[in-house]
Symmetry: C2
Subunit: 207 residues, 2 copies
């Protein structure tokens, strides 16, 4: 994996080799990028490395999950659950906190959320009990919710997760919806893949 | 710069926003990558974030420059200066510690090094006094050196830096050399840029 540094390890002093190693554990950062970042930090003002280190500590020490929707927060509840103006009758179910942020950026949604923290992936050992599904069902039993938007990703794992949750929603009599599938805005019909184009045809709307 | 997060800053809790911000200060890491890394660390075991934080602290606390050649080290002298088998009569002058590692990986060099820590760049405020040039001249006055290889980068700044050092070497009577310019091994003549092909022609060798 890292021939560049394992060939002559004695040349790269231990703290440098270790930071390269730690950076390489992050997704999308290979040994080359890790080494570039490390040597950049070596040259930079110490405040940069220390600031990053402090932010890393604070992230794990201060951030926790909202008691109600499992969004990330520093309080007991997240900023969205604490906002009284949100529509309390709709819950949008997403896989990750980043998905929640993406939906918030549209400005088109004013309801609540529920963050599953993952999707069903039996091959990776992620089963129903690893997701916040039971917690969602518990919410639906106590909160007056009319609609659950199953906004898991539009891929195989996301679909599987949505259908697994749907099975639990049916006996509760809660209306379940899924985000529309179709052509991406600004996209080019010619370049759309067949699944997307098929979904766009199937979901066509009256003008 | 970061419309995604400045639009509704109250949604991204402070420790998350700050780590995204700190990651974004690193070269080649934009706000999207910074946010992906942050949310990955949020989900990951705490050891990952804490290990990275510790490595960042250790880098700035433990790593210093070799008293002789200014390569990075954790001791007074660097591993290369401490290796008695190295040829003490040749000094290879490089811009950065990473360049030294690149040359070491070839296995084709057994002499000493001198790391300048940069190149002449007047527009960025980097002048002769910011580089370890005086320290190189001082070494040449006390060490028995026959040859100085000016291995600065083969670009405008590297050339300017090499010629600036060359002016100081002439009165000392030390032999100065520069790395060969030519076609990269495994490259394609058809795709070589005109400067490279010109240098390859000019530096052609008898077979």
């Amino acid at each position: 994996m890292r021939p560049a540094y394992s060939e002559r390890p004695q040349l790269v002093v231990e703290p440098v080799a270790r930071l390269i190693e730690e950076f390489s554990r992050l997704p999308g950062i290979g040994p080359k990028t890790a080494s570039r970042l490390t040597f950049f930090l070596l040259r930079a003002e110490p405040e940069l490395a220390h600031g990053l280190a402090q932010a890393l500590h604070d992230l794990k020490d201060q951030v926790r999950l909202c008691q109600r929707c499992f969004n990330i927060t520093v309080e007991e509840f997240c900023p969205i659950c604490l906002e009284p103006s949100r529509d309390q009758s709709v819950i949008c179910v997403v896989e990750e906190p980043l998905d929640l942020l993406a939906i918030e950026r549209t400005g088109a949604y004013r309801g609540l959320y529920h963050v599953l923290h993952g999707h069903i992936a039996p091959l990776d050992g992620v089963y129903r009990e690893h997701l916040k599904i039971d917690e969602l069902i518990a919410r639906l039993r106590t909160e007056a919710v009319d609609e659950v938007i199953l906004a898991t990703n539009p891929n195989t794992e996301g679909e599987a997760t949505a259908y697994l949750i749907l099975k639990d929603l049916v006996p509760l009599g809660v209306r379940a919806t899924r985000l529309a599938r179709g052509l991406p805005t600004g996209g080019d019909l010619e370049w759309a893949d067949i699944d997307t184009l098929g979904a766009a045809l199937e979901g066509r709307r009256e003008l």
